[in-house]
């Protein structure tokens, strides 16, 4: 490809190898001034690697990178920042205990003879936030704000660097719809200012709402660059996965009567905790998939934490098989046959520097106790079985989990719980930040669990998923249950209506 006159960033023939893996091979990627460019591909396609090479986290093994015509060899995040490339990563990568102002200015605090000028820093942080129409007390610690706001602050931090190129890696995965729209407004404004913006996201709607062009990667190689307007969705998906999209058949919603008569596995009555969830009523039948829908902060995760014994309920009771139970730790919940994949898998889920095998056997081994050791051979068989069954892509079970992509880490977590043969599986945002293929596999898995008579509590912000895969949907708003949909009532639209407050169900 020849050099383009408007190109801001030009990558040609980029290559990056890891031991045993060619993560990127001959990838071309061009971003023009004043465009939003979506970088698409499945997990392991090389999106994250491309971004990390670009920002200097990894050193490239081949190819050229030109920014505004000048060839660059970015070799550290600081150098990339200096060149005008700034990045907001998938998971908020700021420091929770520092103030908002410190987070925004970290690494480039205004100083006077080596002393930090706190006033100047606060003003600078406020200005950066004002660019996004946000007004916050910048002296408060970051952790006092919601994840969504933290994400916006992370973007403000990136904007604070007078950037030429802004990279957003899954920026919307923890934002609700209104916040996404606000973010898009900011993006459009920046685009009009002439910035080049690269966005990585798994939300198709958002790709079509905001991007001008799409570059698709697959298995570390370039599939092509396309005008968003000229690429139908179905075609995009098939380009990403390399074959026609095989639809996951939806669970039959009919015969609602039969489902409501299921024998309940657990029943919550007025179950709640101050500052967490106001007493909610919820029952999950044997072999039933119950969806839990609601906006961010509506109490979905909090409900899961109560059921799993991470937080202790203060009001109401929980019945398991008709018997009242009270868990004061996850250990007890696990003994009762519960399993929980947390929303934030990096922080609460994986044991990063242990192997896939060790991560998979951990919960089962913990339930059996330290002395009833699972023999090494059995551990290996267990690991190999689940690597095959759920399709974890890895050279072997002894790989460290930290080296896997997000989707594969999520699969390892699922394997950890499947190995315990749980009766109730609580999935909190199991498909967040995961590519289409892995998503479909995980949803398929949920269905097969349900067919085996296992119960699933399915928490997701993607209403489409909730609507398609649940037999009953419980809707939360403002930390309390506001409705329940069953059978034919379940649809994306009805869920949205219930969340919005047009009563439905109860």
């Amino acid at each position: 490809m020849a050099t383009e006159p408007h190109a801001l960033l030009e990558i040609r023939g980029l290559a990056k190898n890891f031991p045993g893996v060619k993560a990127l091979q001959g990838v071309d990627f061009t971003v023009r001034r004043g465009e939003v460019h979506a970088l698409m591909g499945e997990n392991g396609a090389g999106k994250s690697t491309l971004i990390k090479v670009l920002t200097g986290v990894y050193q490239r093994d081949g190819g050229t990178v030109r920014l505004a015509g000048a060839e660059i060899g970015a070799d550290s995040p600081k150098a990339a920042e200096a060149l005008g490339i700034s990045t907001v990563y998938q998971e908020v990568n700021l420091i929770p205990h520092l103030s908002v102002a410190e987070n925004i200015c970290l690494g480039r605090q205004p100083t006077c003879f080596g002393m930090i000028r706190w006033g100047a820093m606060a003003r600078r942080a406020e200005a950066a936030l004002a660019r996004m129409d946000l007004k916050l007390d910048v002296t408060q610690p970051l952790s006092s704000y919601s994840i969504a706001l933290q994400q916006m602050i992370a973007i403000a931090r990136a904007l604070d660097v007078s950037g030429k190129l802004l990279i957003l890696d899954e920026p919307t995965s923890s934002l609700d719809e209104r916040e996404v729209e606000e973010l898009f407004e900011v993006i459009r404004k920046l685009r009009a200012e002439g910035l080049g913006i690269v966005i990585v996201t798994h939300f198709m709607d958002q790709v079509y709402a905001i991007s001008d062009r799409i570059t698709v990667l697959r298995d570390g190689q370039l599939v092509g660059e396309f005008d968003t307007a000229k690429l139908p969705r179905a075609e995009l998906v098939s380009k990403m996965i390399g074959k026609e999209l095989s639809q996951v058949p939806a669970i039959q919603h009919g015969a609602a009567e039969a489902q409501t008569k299921r024998e309940p596995l657990i029943e919550l009555r007025n179950y709640g905790r101050r500052g967490s969830v106001a007493g909610i009523n919820l029952s999950i039948g044997k072999g039933e998939v119950v969806g839990l829908a609601g906006l961010l902060g509506s109490g979905r995760t909090e409900t899961a934490r109560l059921i799993f014994g991470i937080d202790k309920a203060q009001t109401g009771e929980m019945q398991l098989d008709g018997q009242p139970v009270q868990f004061s730790s996850p250990r007890q919940a696990i003994r009762a046959g519960f399993a929980f994949t947390p929303e934030n898998r990096k922080v609460d889920g994986i044991i990063p520097r242990l192997s896939i095998r060790e991560n998979i056997v951990l919960a089962l081994q913990a339930r059996r106790g330290a002395l009833k050791t699972i023999p090494r051979k059995e551990q290996e068989e267990l690991a190999d079985k689940y690597i095959k069954l759920i399709g974890i892509s890895t050279p072997g079970a002894e790989q460290l989990v930290v080296n896997l992509s997000g989707g594969n880490q999520q699969k390892v977590l699922l394997a950890r719980w499947l190995a315990t043969e749980p009766r109730l599986l609580i999935l909190d945002e199991p498909t967040r930040g995961i590519d289409v293929g892995a998503k479909a596999e995980i949803l398929k898995l949920v269905q097969s669990l349900q067919e085996q008579g296992k119960s699933v509590l399915f928490i997701s912000s993607e209403l489409e998923e909730v609507a398609r895969d649940s037999q009953r949907v419980v809707v939360l708003r403002d930390r309390t249950k506001v409705g329940e949909l069953t059978g034919n009532q379940i649809s994306e639209e009805n869920i949205m209506h219930t969340i919005a407050g047009h009563s439905h169900g109860e």
Binding site: F308, I334, I351, L354, A363, Q365, A366, L371
Partner: protein, 338 residues
């Protein structure tokens, strides 16, 4: 399949041992070339004598400590109190052995039991009350020598009981008894952690405590137990130390040995941030440190400046373990002059 599995395991072993062993080997080669008589070993009265044997013998205290310390560090903690616990165990043994009529095993068990109690105190603070490990064990580090003084009544208590002095000075099949004791403890620790799932739990708690708790691992218990075990190891080292000099010296027994133990663990490849631990590495680390100390002594380096070359050698081993530095060194060596 079987041999394949074996290989996988061996890879893990070698990975952790290559650099500490290389450091130790380098040190030995240096002594082979420049220190006369370093490798001379004689047999007298069915017992081996020589510098190498002394290194094994004197290194055994740090070897014992480093086993417990490795497990503590693997959970993301540290045990600063081991030196003081050594003094306590020695004090208890010396007091009891001088009382007539107490059977010898009771003396040993009592001394170790007090050390285990001390470890339980640390474990309770860290595991139960979530006190930061440095602070929690600092308390006993400071108070422990006072406790030992209380036990001995502020005196240095000497003893002559042959069974107690055997622990530090006896020999078995030619080798000093403490060496056998260290090897036995290494075997026991490896069996406890690698043949049961305790090792997995320790590493998972050290690597990600929240995720381990959510997976059903009882993190508090795991932490409690590693401090108890560290206390036991310190108790044994304390018996060896007291037995060596045939007296309980509360002020000097095990002084600063906690630092040597931490260094041995780190030199052995275990990260201070917790996670994977390497017991054999810790043992090699302890030998490395003792060899250094003995080398200084043999080369007549004055005790005042001996810590400086010692620090430099340890720094070198730690740098060798840094993947970043190793990568850069590799790059330099692979570059062929044009």
């Amino acid at each position: 399949m079987g041999s394949n599995r074996f290989q996988k395991r061996e890879v893990r072993w070698w990975h952790s041992l290559v650099w500490p062993v290389a450091g130790l080997a380098l040190l030995l080669v240096f002594n082979l070339l420049f220190t006369e008589g370093f490798f001379r070993v004689e047999i007298r009265d069915g017992r081996l004598y020589g510098v190498l044997i002394d290194i094994l013998n004197h290194g055994s205290k740090v070897m014992l400590l480093s086993l417990g310390m490795a497990l503590v560090i693997a959970t993301g903690g540290v045990d600063l109190s081991v030196g003081a616990v050594m003094a306590i165990a020695g004090a208890v043994a010396a007091q009891l052995i001088n009382k007539d009529g107490l059977p010898f095993p009771v003396v040993i068990v009592a001394a170790l039991a007090v050390a285990v109690l001390a470890g339980s105190w640390n474990g309770l603070l860290v595991g139960g009350f979530k006190v930061q490990p440095i602070v929690a064990t600092l308390i006993l580090m400071v108070a422990g020598r006072g406790i030992a003084q209380l036990i001995t009544g502020g005196q240095i208590i000497t003893f002559t009981d042959g069974r107690l002095t055997y622990i530090g000075n006896g020999s078995l099949l030619g080798l000093p008894f403490p060496v056998w004791l260290s090897l036995a403890m290494l075997g026991l620790t490896v069996a406890l952690t690698r043949k049961t799932a305790i090792g997995l739990f320790i590493e998972s708690v050290g690597d990600n405590q929240t995720a381990s708790t959510y997976s059903g691992v009882n993190a508090s218990t795991v932490k409690f137990l590693v401090y108890v075990f560290s206390g036991l190891c310190a108790g044994m080292a304390g018996l060896v130390a007291a037995s060596n000099i045939k007296c309980a010296d509360s002020n000097h027994a095990g002084l600063f040995l906690e630092l040597d133990a931490i260094l041995a663990v780190v030199v052995g490849g275990t990260s201070l941030t917790g996670g994977r631990f390497y017991l054999a590495g810790a043992i090699v680390g302890a030998l490395f440190i003792q060899t250094l100390t003995t080398t200084m002594y043999m080369r007549n380096v004055s005790a005042d400046i001996a810590p400086v070359p010692k620090a430099l050698a340890i720094l070198a081993v730690c740098l060798l373990q840094s993947p970043k530095l190793r990568g850069q060194l590799g790059a330099i060596f692979s570059k062929k002059p044009a």
